[in-house]
């Protein structure tokens, strides 16, 4: 009885081993093939083309293929503006030759927010100090109020424009300070 059982289980064991081997091979084989594809792709050159630029244009003009965009950028030396103008002018992008096979990687999760880890903003002086308004705070707000009327003016003189903008900024701060002060 026990003999019979053992002779039965030996072929079973063999079958199991074969199946196990096949399964392992099945698991390993496709990953082998996957691993072989990318090197061939990434080796193709896309000199001077920034993937972020490709992405930028692709988002602006979803109808364009990334391959055409890369081709155009590569030919004009990575000039986003030129490619954009070309599309906008209706000339369209040239169709690249079939041999042109750039790596069409998914947009890399760039260090887009490289800013978060910057040091904390140092403590700032208050706005009255920063904009040097202490003396103006003391003067009566009457004449300042009358100037508010021209706040939306646009002067053709550069210096005058600069002065008006500066005045608008100062008025905004002074008015805020007076309101808050009145509130107590």
């Amino acid at each position: 009885m026990s003999d019979q059982q053992q002779s039965f289980s030996l072929p079973q064991l063999a079958v199991l081993l074969v199946i196990g081997f096949l399964v392992l091979r099945w698991i390993l084989w496709p990953s082998d093939r996957n691993a072989q594809r990318p090197p061939g792709w990434s080796n193709t050159r896309t000199r001077g083309v920034n993937p972020a630029h490709v992405e930028q244009i692709a988002q602006m003009f979803p109808q364009l293929s990334r391959r055409d965009i890369i081709w155009d950028l590569q030919r004009n030396g990575g000039n986003v503006g030129e490619t954009t103008e070309r599309v906008l002018s209706g000339r369209g992008l040239e169709v690249p030759p079939p041999t042109f096979q750039p790596p069409l990687a998914a947009p890399s999760p760039q260090a887009a927010s490289a800013n978060p880890s910057d040091p904390k903003l140092p403590a700032q002086p208050d706005l009255i100090t920063r904009y040097n308004l202490a003396s103006k705070l003391a003067t009566a707000p009457e004449d300042a109020q009358s100037d508010l009327g021209q706040k939306s003016g646009w002067s053709h003189n550069k210096e005058e424009r600069q002065r008006l903008l500066q005045k608008r900024r100062e008025e905004m701060i002074l008015a805020a300070r007076r309101r808050l002060e009145a509130k107590g």
Binding site: E55, Q56, T84, Q110, P116, L121, Q124, S152, L164, R168
Partner: protein
């Protein structure tokens, strides 16, 4: 035409529009017209929020290929808000170029594109002050306080508003 001159021209046009049709509660323009790529904006705190009564200065730095790429915006004052990094950088979708989505939830139409403008950015920032977006906390502590201890959050903001005006 080079990038820089296209960008400078566009920035000048936006500056003029923001001056002749000034937005309520916003004063924005180049720090000096010698460099149109660096602006300063003053934003009034929206009414009915703890920021009410305050004035918040921010700088906008424009890239040479503006408006293809968005500017960076940074408050140059203390501001306790879930969507403003402790260093003052503003984190809202309109300031993110289409390719980059650090939070992986932003809709393409909310993000930067050449049809957006400084005006739209400033309006978005004003409404951000009124309604923080809990999905993208840039200041984790402020976000937690806003979520869990709203009263304390509002008190901290009000105090910083008074301090910023020298009171």
């Amino acid at each position: 035409m080079s990038h820089t001159s296209v960008a400078a021209k566009r920035l000048f046009i936006e500056y003029r529009a923001l001056t002749t049709d000034a937005l309520d509660g916003i004063a924005a323009g180049p720090v000096s017209e010698d460099d149109l790529f660096l602006w300063e904006a003053l934003i009034q705190g929206p009414g009915g929020t703890p920021f009410e009564g305050g004035v918040f200065p921010a700088e906008l730095r424009f890239p040479k290929d503006y408006p293809l790429a968005p500017p960076q915006m940074r408050f140059t004052c203390e501001i306790w808000h879930p969507n403003v990094y402790p260093n003052g950088n503003v984190c809202i979708s309109i300031l993110h170029a289409p390719g980059e989505d650090p939070n992986h939830y932003e809709k393409a139409e909310e993000r930067w594109s050449p049809i957006q403008s400084v005006e739209k950015i400033l309006i978005s920032v004003m409404s951000m002050l009124a309604e923080p977006n809990d999905e993208s906390p840039a200041n984790v502590d402020a976000a937690r306080m806003w979520r869990e201890r709203r009263g304390e959050y509002e008190r901290v903001v009000r105090e910083s508003v008074r301090r910023s005006l020298g009171l």
